[in-house]
């Protein structure tokens, strides 16, 4: 019998973690293999489906960090622990830990772009022996907009964490500036072998990759994760097609040697 991929399953909300007024993490019940960087189609009947990337993987759970910006996500924010959401997935390739093992790893992430890489950072921060050192450069608009604020102190114990905001409007003393400003000064033992991951808004990704290349990173050692409209997640609906690539099937994570040819 052919599998009907379009029919979603119900999953219970185990916990809701509030980061900002606009961004919550929904910890959903899920048993199965998942990679960070993959995504689920989350739906609420009547409001539709939205692709949401995996921001954490636990025992029998998957974290979905959702920004309240559209018809579906507005409705998701009306849900509480104990309620249920429809989901299907996981879809996409996700990040492969093997690409980064044994290397110096730099992760550059902006805003909600931190969600898809959170699993990668969490993994390598918990297993510091697996890399030659992990640096996270995370940028948010303001201290108010910070996601995963409880994770940073834990990651700092093993890794080099650079946290920056566009504007410190509350005088918290946080670093102010764009993520790209911290790339030229990165201290690395062997930049030609170092790996980097870049996720965030399109403009940020463009300039962060440029800064990494200027710093001496090789194209084949840089990975990016792309965001597009996706209706199916199955390579059929066509919304996420860029050139000969379907972001949902072939991505959303791309090595930059391929990613640089993705022009909309």
């Amino acid at each position: 019998m052919l599998n009907n991929e379009y029919v979603p399953f119900l999953s219970e909300i185990k916990e809701v973690i509030k980061h900002t007024a606009m961004e919550y993490t929904f910890r959903m019940a899920y048993e199965g293999d998942i990679r960070p960087g993959q995504f689920f189609e989350v739906s609420i009947p009547k409001y539709g489906e939205a692709p949401i990337s995996v921001s954490g993987i636990g025992e029998g759970t998957v974290d979905l960090t959702i920004r309240k910006v559209g018809a579906v996500t507005n409705e998701v924010f009306e849900k509480y622990a104990g309620d249920k959401l429809f989901m299907r997935g996981p879809y996409g390739n996700g990040f492969d830990y093997d690409d980064y093992r044994g290397k110096e790893l730099v992760v550059v992430a902006g805003g909600t772009g931190v969600s898809p890489v959170r699993g990668v950072v969490d993994h390598f921060a918990s297993c510091p022996d697996e890399t030659q050192g992990l640096t996270l450069i995370a940028g948010f608009k303001s201290p108010h907009d910070m996601l995963f604020r409880d994770d940073f102190p834990r990651w700092e114990k093993t890794s080099n964490i650079i946290l920056t905001v566009d504007a410190d409007d509350e005088n918290t003393g946080m670093k102010v500036g764009l993520v790209t400003e911290y790339i030229p000064g990165l201290e690395l033992d062997a930049v030609e072998d170092a790996a980097a991951i870049v996720v965030g808004p399109p403009v940020m990704m463009r300039f962060a990759v440029k800064a990494l290349l200027d710093r001496g990173f090789r194209e084949e050692n840089i990975w990016v994760s792309q965001e597009r409209k996706m209706c199916c997640g199955l390579g059929k609906c066509g919304h996420c097609k860029v050139g000969d690539t379907y972001i949902c099937l072939d991505g959303p994570v791309f090595n930059y040697t391929k990613g640089k040819f993705l022009i909309d």
């Binding site: 991929e5 379009y6 009947p45 597009r228 409209k229 199955l234 059929k236 609906c237 097609k241």
Partner: protein, 339 residues
Amino acid sequence: MGYILSPEAADRLIASLADDCLVFAPKRFVGGAVFSDLDCIRYGEVKTAGEIVFDQKSDYSFKEILTPVCQALFYFTEDQIKEADAPEKGAVVFLRSCDLHAVKRLDDIYLNNGEEDYYYRRLRDRVKFVVMGCSEAFDSCFCVDMGTNVPEGYNMSMEPAEGGFAIDCRDAELDELLGSLADRECDVEPSHVEETKTRVKIPEGLTQDVMRSKIWDEYDGRCIACGRCNFVCPTCTCYTMQDLFYTENGRVGERRRVQASCMVDGFTDVAGGGSYRKKNGERMRFKTLHKALDYKQRFGYQMCVGCGRCDDVCPEYISFSRILNRLGDMMEEVNTDAE
């Protein structure tokens, strides 16, 4: 096996096919065109051979039979989901060689690009194709240059001949039926064209660099992003998901998919306000390169089948075959700029 059928026998053939399945063919909808007093030739159910329009190109393709304009996927009732029923009957589809070649493109997207599409598969398995031979090409056709002029893999062919119809049958089930209806048996090969008035040449060395050409900007002004070219195209397959709830009971509804167009606003919009390809020229470029480059890179053969319907339907008289022919100039332009 080849047969000659009288018009009456052909009517009986269609009628007996229609006993077990839906027979779809191009038919005339009087006054059905977008402009007044003009007819529309599009697909509909037929019960007699006389209803089938052989001497004109259909304005719309057969694709709605396999990828309906609007298709219910499942129904919601509180926490329950009920999958939409498959159609009770299979279908027999009359189509020309270009459209038959388009079926291969639909198959590759829906069955071979990632996992098989459940809803497409269950329709596809129950469809038989009857190819309508083309004795000459219509003005905008360019099937020969796209390599789709010779029909392949049909169940049966049918075209007007000797005051009746000539049929080539490759299907055992249909053969049985035809044996009892035919005036006589003879060798029949469906007609196909060897030349077209419209000629198209896609340059050999076409690459993604052609995106940088300034010629695309012309279409910012000329194209009105209505999407008709996508909706008439037999190879366009994009769709959008839609949830619909019944006004009488807001707790019950359905999820469906509807055909979508990469030329129309909103196609790339992501939550939060982001969108890609805002200019119409960029959309024209995206569509053109999908048909002439991207698809070939992914699947190994050209997507466009040269049916010319997009040229016929465009309200701005933009010719897609002309755009394909300009790709050579565009490549030259970007190569010169690069030097």
